[in-house]
Assembly symmetry: C2
Homo-oligomer: 311 residues x 2
């Protein structure tokens, strides 16, 4: 990709997404002896950065394919994001959701006119159901984190951050399926090459950390982290980008995630989801790296179940 092509990605999706605010906090700066800039995608439409990638993926489809609709399987933020993006663009969105998905998430998808198909709560059932919908309707499958157009769209959050705050020493972002960090590191490489991109990951699902060590995509044996958005594994399209452009991964404990989330809610008065707190926890965990540095953090989302808080 060229710098011009990446700029075009941003120009294409710009009319459909919020330019989210970049917040600072005296209290957070004091806590870590750094100057921290939070790119608040929790304020993005649908409550997460995923609207960016979803919008870009749909916009990249040929007219003919768009008319046949799109399909994905997701129980999380991508389900809402794709439904919303599709609605904004007048495209039909089929969302395959596991029967275990909470009603709140199903309702959010319905609000954006997403067409839900419920399946058994396992990957095989999800994939089978998606394939069936593809066959029956001609809809295009869009993967939540491994689709290249999705990856490019996700990177535009860091593009906006870099435009607003130049000379960042670091950008930290959470790593789940790898779409966000791949896009972030690609845009950062092109528009702020001196800025190092660091991934943040729970110890309990440290597949990205292990993948970078081994040089191949590793999976997680267990996945009971509180950071429910980060349970998925890296993909074949985003992993090479991550290998090339990501400086390192910082791993954090579950209690550190909860503490970071509490800090942001209590002191900064904004609602962030556990996956985003992972990035704050990484910042607080390794103060020697970030001391006196300018650090950007991608606050990936703010979708939480208020009935299931860890406090």
């Amino acid at each position: 990709m060229t710098t011009t092509e990446l700029q075009q990605v941003y120009e294409i999706i710009k009319p459909y997404v919020h330019k989210t605010p970049v917040l600072t906090s005296r209290l957070l700066n004091a806590e870590c002896d750094a100057t921290v800039f939070l790119k608040c995608e929790n304020f993005q439409k649908t409550g997460s950065y995923k609207l960016r990638g979803a919008t870009h993926a749909i916009l990249n489809l040929p007219e003919l394919d768009r008319n046949k609709g799109i399909v994905t399987h997701s129980s999380g933020n991508f389900a809402q994001a794709l439904s919303c993006a599709a609605k904004n663009l007048g495209v039909k969105a089929h969302i395959v959701m596991p029967s275990s998905a909470p009603n709140a998430k199903k309702n959010a998808v319905k609000e954006y006119s997403g067409i839900i198909t419920v399946c058994d709560p396992n990957l095989k059932a999800r994939e089978a159901e998606s394939a069936k919908i593809q066959q029956e309707t001609g809809a295009t499958f869009i993967h939540p984190s491994n689709d290249l157009q999705v990856i490019l769209g996700q990177g535009t959050a860091s593009y906006e951050l870099i435009q607003e705050q130049s000379n960042l020493d670091y950008i930290i972002c959470p790593v789940g399926g790898g779409g966000l960090i791949a896009g972030t590191s690609l845009f950062t490489h092109h528009f702020s090459p001196k800025t190092k991109v660091i991934g943040a990951e729970p110890f309990k699902v440290d597949d990205a950390y292990r993948s970078l060590l081994s040089g191949k995509i590793e999976t997680n044996e267990i996945s009971d982290t509180i950071a429910d958005g980060l349970k998925t594994n890296l993909g074949s399209n985003n992993f090479p980008i991550i290998q090339k452009y990501v400086d390192r991964i910082i791993r954090v404990k579950e209690q550190e995630i909860v503490d970071a989330m509490r800090f942001v809610w209590e002191r900064m008065k904004i609602v962030i989801e556990p996956s985003s707190a992972v990035a704050i926890a990484a910042l607080l965990k390794e103060p020697q790296i970030f001391e006196n540095k300018k650090v950007g953090i991608i606050i990936s989302g703010g979708n939480v179940d208020l009935g299931q808080l860890p406090f």
Copy 2:
């Protein structure tokens, strides 16, 4: 007060307070068919608008009195605000707190170097302890909501809101001890005379509603509302201002407060305290008043105990 005098109040406190953001929300606008502007004092230093009044009250003391310190009794946001304001201005702050005050609130006061005196949890004990400290130290007593200089300081939140958004049809703010709404209505009268100021109050502590009906300060028999910041009664200094400049009071039920708080946390991703949710609940309760209007809301604070949420 003249318009120039009120402007001076703002100029005096300006260096010591955050100019808090004014947020909007498509979702909130859609919910009430109005254009709503939230003046976010939850992002104010110490987490509430009370820093404004506290700062103004201290700045108005003669040098000689400032040197002797100040004293107040409060278990809530004013305790933190006065401690912080005093620290910023190099003044000693004595805070009388009931023994029932949660440790989190005591610690917040200590963080700002406030000197805590614990007393029995009733008004008589608080007043006696405050009087004793005044006698012993020469400290000046500053009332959280009935001190005229405090009232004037609190009004500066609405001043900033009006500067940013002209032609508001309404400003809604919660009513507790009456300091915020008195200051708000005074500034609004001077700087945006066509804007009507509406108070929002829980049914369970509707003393302001009843006071405006009867023409004298009424008290509350019970005070078990979730909006813990609104339990106090109006005072002799703020009541005449409220009678003169406040258009009406809208009362809301406890469940309406919780629902409004949930809406703002879930949809707008910001942490507001129950007292602030009372103002949102009032907006949602009487849609016919606010339909197609421009409505400002003072989000008074964001200090909540995450271990005691109503969700």
